[in-house]
Each structure stands twice: as structure tokens, then as C-alpha cells.
Amino acid sequence: MMAELRGKLAIAGVGLAGCGEAPGRTEIEILADASRLAVADAGLTLRDIDGLLTASTTSFMPALSVAEYLGIRPSFSDSNSVGGASFVSHLIPAALALEAGLCNAVLVAYGSNQRTGMGRRNQGKIKAELDPMAYEAPYRPFNPPTSYALAAARHMYQYGTTREQLAEVAVAARRWAQKNPEAFVRDPLTIDDVVNSRMISDPLTVRNCCLVTDGGGAFVLTRADRARALPQPPVFVLGMGAAHWHRQISQMPDLTVSAASESGPKAFAMAGLHPADIDVVELYDAFTINTILFLEDLGFCEKGAGGGFVEDGAIAPGGRLPVNTNGGGLSCVHPGMYGIFTIVEAVRQLRNQAGERQIAGAEVALCHGNGGMLSSQVTAILGTAATV
């Protein structure tokens, strides 16, 4: 069934807003700014938008709030939240709804003022009341870093992965960010800087952890025939796959194997492609261990070989595989849920609009969203017209 959807849907517009710091802006203002830009980029108006997908860490009924704010009356909406993998995950219901004729132009949108808005500590306290993790909370995991640190420690124990290899991921992200004028942090960064920065939850130092920024992103998805008639080069959806096996880190069956090992093969099968066919990779790098785990689980290298794979600048500019070309969550933008930024960057790369960081001749991109505590994993493979 899913294979029949290959190439049937396309991203027609993308937008970013408020990335970095957006003081005095509400989440929905940032979301609406990104949405306006994405809809305009698609050559459409908000009147054309009849499908809406959104998610939020603060709103209880985000699709209702967003539709009201934008003044749209969607015939299809959904606000499934699988943490930061949302927005990549939204491709799947959006594609099914478009194919079923429930709607004709879907807006997927996100906005957050996590850096300059309401304090994260307050939010954390409120969430702990509403949604307690009763069997972990007594031990005060400093989440999310502690959960990802437990995965990193296990990977190091089992496969000999080193702190220097984890640091390679952060350095590569920074080197990409230095080529991206929109990236929030562009200072030089060395492996020693990463290893010697302040320890947060062993073995993860602060430079192994993503940024905390404001920011929003949006994209517009239509059926392929319509996208071909719109102004931007369409970016076609070739493959999609989603999986989740746990929520809390204590319930993850094997801390060295994520559900990306299920979502990835599903997406590759739908696309009829293999890891070697991918020109550019956009992974949700909330922490440096993510990139290593996902490169393994998605099949770019063997399980356990991820540390060696990223050595010597292999995923940095000029390396063998371009990964997180915008600078990623580690150096570009990370406002709570990063998933949508993997899509926006992949679209820019496939449209040949990525400026100094453009991967020459990029035809196929892989986007991978992660949510919760390595919990939800969603893979999307996108391609240019030549790949359909």
C-alpha cells in the first residue's frame, strides 16, 4: 500500500521564522510567521489550506488553536504528538488524507519560544504534575539529557565508542553551521572543547547537547500533480516509515538499538532505495549519541560502528556523507521539537537553494525525526523530480 504512494505527494513550500531568539513573541505568532512564509513559498494563500497538522509541548488542542489563529477551517486536521519526531511523522497522515481526497493542501507547522518565553523549569514542573513518570521520577533523571546519557554510556561499554567520537558529531554540526548564516551558533569548536565543556550527565557534556532556541518551521504538502504547477521545484515524498517501542528510557529494550531500525527499512522499502542512494542526511541530533545510533540503525554503517564512522570529519563538510547540513539541533536551531527543521533543510538542499552549504547535485535526502527518550522514530525519504 505505502509503496503506491511513492512520488504521489510533494512538498511545495517551506518557511522558517524566529529561529534563534524571538523575544516577546508567542509560540503561535512564530508558528504563524513560518506558516505564512511556507504558504507564500508554495505560491498559495491561506485560503487554499484545507488540511492542518501541528503539535505542541504546551497546547492541549493545538490544531484547534492554530486553525483559529490562522483563520482557516480545515477539512482534515490532526495533532498527533510523538515528541520531536512529530512534523516528520505528520507526513504520513497528511499523505493519506491527500490521497483519500479529504483535503488538497496540507500545512504542517510548528512554533516555539522555548528560549525566551515561559521558563522551562516552570513547564517541567507542570508537566511532572500532569504526566508523571512514577517509576523514574524518584531518581530525578535530568531529562532528556540523562536518558540519552544512559544510552551513550551503554554504547560506549558495548562497542568501545569514545567521548572523542561523540565530540566529532558536535564538531561536524558546528562546521556545517559555519556555512549557514541562519544557524544560531557559529563559533569555532574543537573536539577538546566538546570533551572539556561542562559535564551535564556523564558522558554528555553541554556541547554534546542540543541548543535551546526559539523558532518555528512550516511546510505545505500537496498531491504531486498540483505541486508541479506551483512555482518552486517540487520535492517528492519517496518513502516514509514510523515506529515506537517505548516511552521511558527504562522501558527501552536495548539502549543501543532504536526503533529507527524499523522506521528506516520501512521508508527505504517504500522508496525502493538503499542507504548508498542517499545524497544528504538530516537526522534529529538532540544529543551527539543520536547521530551515531541513527547512522547505524538506518543502515549507513554496521551496528556498533557509528563511532568510527563519524571520525576524521566524515560527516562534516567535505566528508564522505553530509549529515545535518544546516548545523542541526546541536548548532543551528532547537526549540523543543526539532523534527520539522530536518524537512525544511532537506527541501532546500533538493531545490539547490542551500547557499554555501549546498550539496552539489543532491537528488535524494533522508530526514529522520526522533521523539521522547529515543522513543519515537520517523524516517522520510525525499527526492527531486528526477527520482520519481
Binding site: 512514577a134 517509576y135 523514574e136 524518584p138 531518581y139 530525578r140 533523571p141 535530568f142 540523562t146 546519557a149 544512559l150 544510552a151 554510556a153 551503554r154 561499554y157 561542562r198 559535564m199 551535564i200 550527565s201 556523564d202 558522558p203 554528555l204 521511558q248 528510557i249 527504562s250 522501558q251 539502549l255
Partner: protein, 131 residues
Amino acid sequence: MSDSHSNPGPEQQFHDALSHGQFQIQHCADCDRYVFYPRVQCPHCGGHHLSWVRPAGLGTVYSVTIVRKKPADGGDYNVVLVDLQEGVRLMGRVDGIANEAIRIGMRVHVEVKQEGGKAIVVFVPNAGVIA
């Protein structure tokens, strides 16, 4: 179909037993596997014939991290995942040893402690482990 709900659920039963110093996990009669955290049905097979058992209390550290906090904020503390011999995994804390000395693979056993008016499960290294 409906179930009787006249008794407290497994979460409250777990905490009631723990407050009396008893750490219990569940055993599934349908698939003969152990279950933690407590649930109304077995996550392995969907069966609902779960009963409380007292595990041997022996386990192995599966992973460990040290959360770094300033002394003014209470100082550093460890967070571990421990695999019990019955095959279930728990988050916890290892007491009685320096944080830096906790190793993956270390053998530990369960103790129930009272902390701030609440009972919690912690782990202590088995005899022979040098602190």
C-alpha cells in the same frame, strides 16, 4: 463486558507494599514472564492473570550516568538502569559506593529505603565490590 474496580489498581498496590518495605513485581501466569512497572495486563502477551511476587532482589547494572549538579543544588548523584535476575529493568540509584566507582555489569541488590516520607527502591553493591 466489564471488570470489577472495587480494589485499588496495581500502581497503588505496588506503593502500598513498598511503604511496608516490600518490593514486588508482577508475574504473568499466561506467558510465564515477569512485568515491571506494574500494569493491569501483561505487556508481553496481553494476558491479565498477573500476580505479585517478591523478586530475589539481585541485579546487574545495565547503564549508569552521573547527573552533575552544583553543591548548592544538592551536588552530583547517580542514575542507573538495573536488570533484575527475573528479566525486568528498573531505573534506580546505587548507594554505598562513590558515583565514579559504579560500573556497567556491577552486581547489585535491592534495598527499600524511606526518603522524605516515601518508600523507594535503591540498589547496593553486592559484597566483594570495592567502594
